[in-house]
């Protein structure tokens, strides 16, 4: 009996975010007949794609219990480089180049964290400033316009699907394969669960750590490119404080800040959920000033249920030394 009630409570807790999502869709659907349409659905995915891409990279970092505050700066730096130096290049050539630079940004973070053993929080806090500074230097503190080819790319739909979604889908598939189907991916989870045990089991913890920051760097750069190609110009606040919605999306999708738990599909879900709420609020003509309020309340509820779940789990798993004759 007790066990049944526990299991029921766990089921509800486990799927609380999903329930929340369903309720929101129903409510918005009832309030606006434009909300539940395929066009709007594509629109939501399109608008959230840059955040989703960066949040996928962040998920890798969070899975090993790290953090990367520099993603917003990396975004801006990538966009600035694209606009200033690669203006003449077609996107197909420029994007990979910029992504490699993003990787270098991430590699620097990873180097500081694994080799010089500076805390991830403070490393990425300082590269946030440095990255933004370099980007401002390149842009001359002015709006950076993008080349026509980039804008055309950003506004074109291939096979009826906007380019941003194609890139997002590509990143997602690669991330899924890496995380689920490679030894490295499984080791990321192992390192996050228990770095000491991972080292004992023969996993190269430093290498895994370094690699996840590289991945996060690439994703941040790609996110910057996608966002840049959508908005036409990068102002000096481009990507500013984007680290927060990115982390929020990952956490909302069930990724733990303490490592070892979560995944990229959840993160996509979290990012889309945030965008859905925003979109729904637009569709229902809500006061724009309450958007952040509603969104933060939803994130709060999701994290709250997650913590309750952890607490319940801990209570259930309490060490028992004496066997009850059930």
């Amino acid at each position: 009996m007790n066990g049944f009630r526990n299991r029921f409570a766990m089921l509800a807790l486990q799927n609380a975010t999903l329930l929340l999502f369903a309720v929101l869709i129903i409510v918005f659907g009832l309030m606006s007949d434009r909300f539940l349409t395929p066009v709007n659905f594509v629109n939501i995915i399109n608008q959230s794609s840059h955040i989703t891409i960066i949040a996928i990279g962040m998920t890798f970092v969070l899975l090993i219990a790290g953090i990367d505050l520099s993603v917003g700066a990396n975004m801006y730096l990538s966009a600035a480089i694209l606009g200033v130096f690669f203006a003449g290049m077609p996107p197909i050539a420029a994007f990979p180049l910029v992504a490699v630079l993003g990787l270098a940004f991430g590699a620097f973070n990873g180097f500081m964290i694994t080799q010089l053993r500076v805390a991830a929080f403070i490393t990425t806090l300082s590269t946030l400033f440095v990255g933004r500074g370099i980007a401002l230097y390149f842009s001359g503190n002015k709006m950076v316009p993008f080349s026509k080819s980039v804008l055309t790319f950003g506004r074109t739909a291939y096979l009826g699907i906007p380019s941003a979604i194609w890139i997002f889908a590509l990143v997602l598939i690669i991330a899924l394969i890496v995380l689920k189907l490679t030894t490295f991916g499984r080791q990321v989870y192992a390192v996050g669960a228990d770095p000491d045990a991972a080292a004992k089991a023969g996993i190269n913890v430093k290498r895994v750590t370094f690699a996840v920051y590289c991945i996060c760097g690439v994703c941040a750069a790609v996110g910057g490119l996608v966002s840049g190609s959508q908005v036409a110009v990068a102002s000096s606040t481009f990507g500013f404080q984007k680290e927060f919605p990115v982390i929020a999306a990952a956490v909302l999708g069930g990724t733990s800040l303490f490592g070892g738990r979560g995944g990229v599909l959840g993160t996509v879900f979290g990012a889309v959920l945030i965008q859905t709420v925003e979109n729904g609020l637009v569709m229902t003509n809500a006061n724009p000033y309450i958007y952040p309020l509603v969104i933060s309340v939803i994130i709060f509820i999701a994290v709250f249920t997650d913590s309750s779940r952890t607490t319940v789990l801990e209570r259930l798993e309490r060490r028992k030394i004496r066997v009850e004759p059930d």
């Binding site: 394969i177 189907l181 490679t182 030894t183 490295f184 499984r186 080791q187 989870y189 192992a190 996050g192 669960a193 228990d194 045990a197 991972a198 004992k200 089991a201 023969g202 996993i203 070892g260 738990r261 309490r318 060490r319 028992k320 030394i321 004496r322 066997v323 009850e324 004759p325």
Partner: protein, 521 residues
């Protein structure tokens, strides 16, 4: 050579797989292994028994590559064997299954089995062949009779099932020798039976097994050969058929109590009990615990690891909850005790885990000693600490428990020896002048000299009228120090002995013989 060692080891059936000769090991100048030697044969189970500190774990840690030997020789499969580390040992075919399992609970069984070497889809590329991993995992699980899909998360497994996964991992690494360290302490009866079936199966496959346990019943049931260690010496080697539990116990204990323990008179106090416990029960840990502790009395608590002693202590001090029963301190019933409430009633608690719960390792000595008493030195609206009075009392306390450190305001606790660290914890509690002091393994991991000083402190405290509940795994210590000894097994009090009726073998028998198995049924 002791008489016990002359018990001849009969020729074994299987081929000799591992031979240990004259193994020596010292830690910080203290010899913990003295020319230990025995051999292990394929397809046989060797039981290794001995009291805590007899050298079992050190021996196994050397074989498992955790420690390096100082002198001696190990021959494995006919070749010299000197593992560089745990990884190296497991690569060479020796698997060590620790009490604390080394599994990732957020991953599936299959992933745990292959975390460093997954089967690949295409050789050279990093992609995992999940199908192959599943299939191979299923085979390994079948070998340990675990009928669970390999995709199940380890999180969902019971302790016993996790143990079997560890064994499967050892099989996957093609282990020729598997070492078990106290594998049954957290298993249910059924899980234990299952584990034994698996071990028997492994034996038939020609794998050699070293089985360490305090539960002598199990040793008799399972092992072919038995080695008894005491104080770093092998004091007995025999076939199971030539050994009895009685004999094992007497070999393990074997020595007279030396002059380690200061003399003390048993105190019989007619006054009210300092601590009274009535029918305290908590599901899964302790059951129907009742006793009373008189002022000025040292009440020893004996029992095996996992008997529920520490759990009882934690309940008494309000750290863990209890479901029913009564705890009465100084005539007052504590309905919902917390450490703070217990402290207000004059209780103190020395934890068994100094590192995690006893000390702020990164803080200096004086701050650690002061931590529990701060409020007594503070007053006024702001709770400002009277630092000169506190400083004087802390330094007096530090002298009185004889902590050897130059400057107690500068020396960090992490830089002290185990003995001095323990004195810091004791000093912290003595500063409160406790009336009831619960000591959980007060001399664990400290050297003989410091032990003696701790004993003197305990005696002084008891003579001053405090009631002391002393949990210890060292039977001799309990015999030397206690006025009465309670023996716990399986969460219950099994027997109580009065001073004068103390007998090592009786105590061990109460804890082991009528053991954990029968209690569960």
């Amino acid at each position: 050579m002791s008489a016990a060692a002359s018990v001849a080891a009969s020729p074994a059936t299987g081929a000799e797989l591992l031979e240990i000769e004259e193994l020596c090991k010292s830690f910080f100048g203290v010899e913990v292994l003295h020319k230990v030697g025995f051999s292990l044969h394929a397809g046989r189970v060797l039981g290794l028994v001995g009291e805590n500190g007899s050298g079992k774990s050190t021996t196994m840690n050397i074989i498992g590559g955790v420690h390096q030997m100082d002198a001696g020789r190990i021959t494995f499969n006919g070749a010299d064997y000197r593992p560089k580390g745990p990884r190296d040992a497991s690569k060479q075919g020796i698997a060590f299954i620790h009490q604390e399992l080394n599994l990732f609970r957020n991953l599936s069984i299959a992933e745990n089995l292959f975390i460093t070497e997954f089967p690949k889809l295409v050789p050279g590329l990093p992609f995992i062949d999940r199908g192959a991993a599943r299939k191979r995992a299923a085979e390994l699980l079948a070998a340990v009779d675990l009928d669970i899909p390999p995709t199940t998360l380890v999180n969902r497994l019971s302790q016993g099932e996790r143990q079997l996964v560890e064994i499967a991992k050892a099989l996957g690494a093609k282990a020729k020798i598997i070492i078990f360290d106290e594998p049954t302490t957290s298993l249910t009866t059924r899980e234990t039976d299952r584990l034994f079936d698996i071990i028997n199966k492994l034996r038939q496959q020609g794998i050699a097994i070293i089985y360490i346990s305090h539960i002598l019943d199990d040793i008799m049931k399972l092992c072919d050969d038995i080695v008894v260690l005491r104080d770093g010496d092998v004091v007995g080697k025999a076939l199971k058929t030539e050994m009895t539990i009685e004999r094992m116990i007497s070999l393990m204990v074997g020595r007279n109590i030396d002059q380690l323990f200061p003399l003390r008179e048993a105190v019989i106090s007619a006054g009210p009990p300092a601590l009274e416990v009535k029918n305290v029960t908590q599901r899964g840990t302790v059951k129907n615990i009742s006793f009373s502790l008189r002022a000025g009395e040292v009440l020893g608590v004996s029992g095996l690891m996992g008997a529920g002693r520490s759990e009882l202590a934690r309940i008494l001090f309000g750290i863990d909850d209890f479901a029913s029963g009564e705890i009465i301190v100084d005539g007052e019933t504590l309905t919902k005790p917390t450490p703070m409430i217990c402290m207000d009633h004059g209780m103190a608690f020395l934890t068994e885990d100094r590192r995690a719960e006893g000390l702020m390792m990164e803080a200096p000595i004086d701050q650690n000693i002061a931590l529990s008493s701060l409020q007594a030195y503070a007053g006024g609206f702001s709770h400002k600490i009277d630092s000169s009075r506190l400083k004087a009392d802390v330094s007096k306390m530090s002298n009185s428990v004889q902590i050897g450190a130059r400057d107690i305001t500068k020396t960090l606790v992490k830089n002290l020896s185990g003995g001095n660290q323990q004195k810091v914890v004791i000093g912290k509690w003595l500063l409160r002048g406790p009336k009831v002091f619960i000591l959980d393994e007060p001399t664990r991991g400290i050297d003989v000299g410091a032990k003696n000083e701790v004993y003197k402190i305990i005696n002084r405290l008891a003579a001053g009228g405090a009631g002391i509940l002393m949990i210890s795994s060292e039977i001799e210590e309990l015999i030397g120090m206690s006025d009465r000894i309670m023996v716990m097994a399986h969460g219950e009090i099994r027997a109580t002995f009065e001073r004068g009726a103390f007998d090592r073998e009786e105590l061990l028998r109460a804890a082991m013989w009528d053991g954990i198995r029968s209690g569960a049924k």
